[in-house]
């Protein structure tokens, strides 16, 4: 039996979008609910601070100048460690991506060393690089280096061979081919790595500052934990989380500028 009916649309769904307003609202609602639960006594604030108390703790930290003292120490470590890890990682990644011998030996090493937990190596780093900044920065460098190498190699592999052949066919110098074709071609993948390595660096910061650090957000969080200063502990966590947000925003903006050709 045939009947006339309108053809139904069948291709809805499976296409999630991100609405900024909803994301923000969710965050705000969660915090508001938390505060409400705390001030109404639904949850005990004895060992779980209220957002208000955390904010107050942040304010005190800011007013006393401690916040900046810790933040600047951490930012310096993060910046130095991340930059060194990233630059060496990209250079190694390019070598591994371009040369057979480097790839054969390097990839084996990277695969063997990448999965080891860097936190477990902190005590060794202290013996090798001292208790000061050296071991902290090396911890970060180590954590950043391997993902960068792996992403750079993947990026180099993803550069269309045709573009490299084009460069060769026009007689471009090897260095120009690397700088103008291979590196920019690998950049999207390298940037994808940045998202991972910046987060890794922040995670490792706490481990790196566990030993021998007087200042630093990681050291501060540990110290607050040792003293069961719950407000301070959570305030430190909030700072770390905001730091993560800021860094990911900066990476996103950088990506937008450098990869605007996409």
């Amino acid at each position: 039996m045939l009947q006339d009916r309108r053809v139904p649309f069948r291709a809805s769904g499976y296409n999630p979008q991100t609405y900024g307003a909803i994301s923000l609202l969710t965050l705000i609602a969660t915090i508001a609910l938390w505060q409400l639960a705390a001030s109404q006594g639904w949850i005990s604030t004895q060992f779980a601070s209220s957002p208000e108390a955390i904010l107050q703790s942040l304010r005190n930290l800011y007013a006393s100048g401690e916040l900046w003292e810790h933040l600047s120490a951490s930012l310096q470590r993060l910046a130095i460690g991340w930059v060194i890890g990233t630059i060496t990682g990209i250079i190694f990644g390019l070598l591994l991506g371009l040369f057979s011998i480097a790839r054969s030996s390097g990839m084996a090493l990277v695969s063997a060393l990448f999965p080891i937990p860097k936190i477990a190596l902190v005590p060794l780093f202290i013996i090798w690089f001292g208790i000061g900044e050296g071991s902290k920065i090396v911890t970060l460098v180590f954590g950043v280096f391997f993902p960068t190498v792996i992403n750079t190699v993947a990026g180099v592999d993803a550069v269309p061979r045709g573009l490299i052949r084009m460069g060769q066919s026009f007689g471009l110098r090897p260095l120009s081919i690397v700088a103008k074709i291979v590196l920019p071609g690998a950049l999207p993948s390298i940037f994808a790595g940045f998202r991972i390595t910046t987060a890794t660096a922040i995670v490792l910061l706490v481990a790196a500052e566990m030993i021998g650090a007087e200042h630093g957000i990681g050291a501060f969080v540990l110290q607050a934990g040792n003293l069961y200063a719950t407000d301070d502990l959570l305030a430190g966590i909030v700072v770390l989380s905001l730091l993560g947000l800021c860094v990911s925003f900066v990476v996103g903006q950088l990506e937008r500028v450098l990869l605007r050709w996409r």
Binding site: G162, M166, S169, F170, P184, G185, W261
Partner: protein, 266 residues
């Protein structure tokens, strides 16, 4: 196509001799005993069934594939201003997506001693020649296929080539764009007189551009026949009966091989 600065691309008189060239990929014979004379200032079209080794031959001509046997010899002086005697135009355009149109052209000049102003002038000149002036700052992704291949041509012309090596430069384009661009190629080649080797599957293209048409046979690729067409490019019309006859003859030569090629695994 613009008339600017065409005189800069004057006839260069470079020819190529292909002598007993053979090539195999891991034991698979692709080309065997190829002897072709590519005369200066002419368009040599290479046709043949899929997989007969056309791209391989072009690669050997431009030094991108190391042949197993035989040699390719370049005759004549490319001239002092020639920056890259053997220059390719690619089927897939091979443009850097992270460089603008002007940047893609400029890329191939940057390794040469040339001051900034001279380079900018050269870029502007070839963009004008290919009608791309107003797209100089566009990203490749913003361009249509036809415009992208114009960038490919502009880039090739920027280095003042002695020989243009074109591997199916129009095959990625739609039929209408292809016809338009084909006429532009013909005009450009006629005016500049640059020696050209042009690989194609498309027989109308072959008779439109070729001074001589090299027909390769199926694997291993051997020269089956070389057909000459002496009519000047500027006079060739699609409905010209003589050209249509040649096209028929080419098709007759290729049909059996093509049918067989179509039956086999790619």
């Amino acid at each position: 196509m613009s008339d600017v600065a065409l005189d800069a691309l004057e006839r260069r008189g470079i020819g190529l001799s292909v002598c007993a060239v053979s090539h195999a990929y891991r034991g698979l014979k692709a080309l065997e005993g190829i002897d072709i004379e590519i005369p200066p200032g002419e368009v040599t079209v290479v046709v043949g069934p899929s997989g007969c080794g056309k791209s391989t031959l072009l690669g050997i001509l431009g030094g991108l594939v190391a042949q197993e046997a035989g040699e390719v010899v370049l005759h004549g002086d490319p001239g002092a201003d020639c920056l890259n005697p053997l220059t390719y135009v690619f089927q897939d355009f091979a443009l850097l997506p992270w460089r603008s149109v002007a940047g893609n052209v400029s890329l191939v000049l940057e390794d040469h001693a040339m001051d900034k102003a001279a380079r900018a002038a050269r870029v502007a000149e070839v963009l004008a020649l290919t009608g791309l002036t107003e797209f100089a700052d566009a990203w490749p992704r913003q361009l249509s296929g036809g415009m992208r291949q114009r960038v490919g041509i502009a880039r090739a012309l920027a280095v003042r080539p002695a020989v243009l090596l074109m591997d199916e430069p129009l095959s990625a384009l739609d039929a209408q764009t292809r016809d338009l661009l084909l006429d532009e190629f013909a005009a450009l080649i006629a005016r500049t007189g640059v020696t050209t080797v042009y690989v194609t599957h498309n027989l109308p293209e072959a008779v439109r551009l070729g001074h001589s048409i090299v027909v390769l046979g199926r694997r291993p690729g051997r020269v089956r026949e070389i057909i000459r067409i002496d009519m000047p490019l500027a006079e060739r019309r699609p409905d010209d009966t003589a050209l249509m006859a040649i096209e028929q003859r080419l098709w007759a030569l290729l049909r059996d091989d093509a049918a067989e090629a179509a039956r086999e695994l790619a």
